[in-house]
């Protein structure tokens, strides 16, 4: 029985769904999964839709920030002026913004995506691909980085997530 004074039970397991394929769509889930392992929490990541690019070996290092459709985006830094949508659409803008952010991340020791995926897997985190997306994108096992353990149906995912928290990003 929980009394108001008792310490809440610690989180033991998280299953994180990464569904977006932009830099800002991918990193939060990776950081949360890695952070879970750092705390001794069991961690699974289920990559679905465009989030699947995170574990596609020829594409994972081409993931970029969305400079269009992102009204919170400011330049040249987080306290600068809002980037007008039409400027965000200029060729090279997304690549430029991505390289700026990558520098900031490197300074904080946040690894590039490929290295991060490897680190989470080595830390005991499990990485899975969504079956529906794999079929829809016509992907085969060779397309994935070796850290991807298994292609799961949504039913398999719920089974694997049993007894833990599910986080959708």
């Amino acid at each position: 029985m929980n009394t108001p004074d008792s310490t809440p039970e610690k989180i033991k397991k998280v299953s994180i769904v990464i569904s977006k394929g932009s830099l800002e769509g991918v990193y939060p889930g990776l950081i949360m999964a890695n952070g879970a392992r750092m705390e001794g929490i069991e961690a699974n990541i289920f990559f679905t839709f465009f989030g699947l690019y995170t574990i596609l070996k020829d594409y994972q290092d081409k993931i970029r920030i969305a400079t269009v459709g992102n009204p919170a985006m400011r330049v040249p830094n987080a306290k600068g002026f809002p980037l007008p949508t039409l400027l965000g659409a200029l060729p090279g803008m997304s690549a430029f913004a991505t390289s700026m952010m990558q520098k900031e991340m490197e300074a904080l020791d946040i690894p590039p995506i490929g290295e991060f995926v490897e680190m989470i897997s080595d830390a005991g985190g499990h990485l899975y691909a969504c079956k529906a997306t794999v079929d829809m994108f016509h992907l085969n096992p060779d397309d994935f980085v070796p850290q991807m353990e298994k292609v799961l149906t949504v039913g398999d995912f719920y089974e694997m997530a049993a007894g833990g928290e599910i986080i959708f990003t």
């Binding site: 001794g40 904080l108 080595d122 830390a123």
Partner: protein, 105 residues
């Protein structure tokens, strides 16, 4: 602030169990903290990790990120998690006698 006597030394800890003065640390203290944290034996490889953390802390005032730790101490990620199974970040910092790590990575 809780104080414990380990090996005839009075050691101060913060409320989360991290030593407040890393200079009070020695191997006997490390062993005592390790056993509280569920690490029953400190091997040479544990010591490599602890010494790297202490060196970083002495130089920078904060412990290393796990990425730096694995790249520079020569203890790879898999081994680090095997050495400190319940979470290397905080456990290793506690046993190394340094303050709680502040980064997210």
């Amino acid at each position: 602030m809780p104080t414990r006597t380990i090996n005839q030394k009075e050691i101060d800890f913060d409320d989360e169990g991290f030593m407040t003065n890393h200079l009070d640390w020695d191997l006997e203290i490390a062993k005592a903290i390790a056993s509280d944290e569920g690490v029953s034996e400190l091997t040479d490889r544990h010591i490599v990790v602890l010494e790297f953390m202490r060196k970083e802390f002495a130089e920078k005032g904060t412990g290393p990120t796990i990425r730096r730790l694995t790249k520079e101490s020569g203890v790879p990620t898999k081994e680090l998690y095997a050495l400190f199974p319940a979470g290397p970040a905080k456990k290793a910092a506690k046993i190394a006698g340094i303050k709680k790590p502040v980064g997210c990575i």
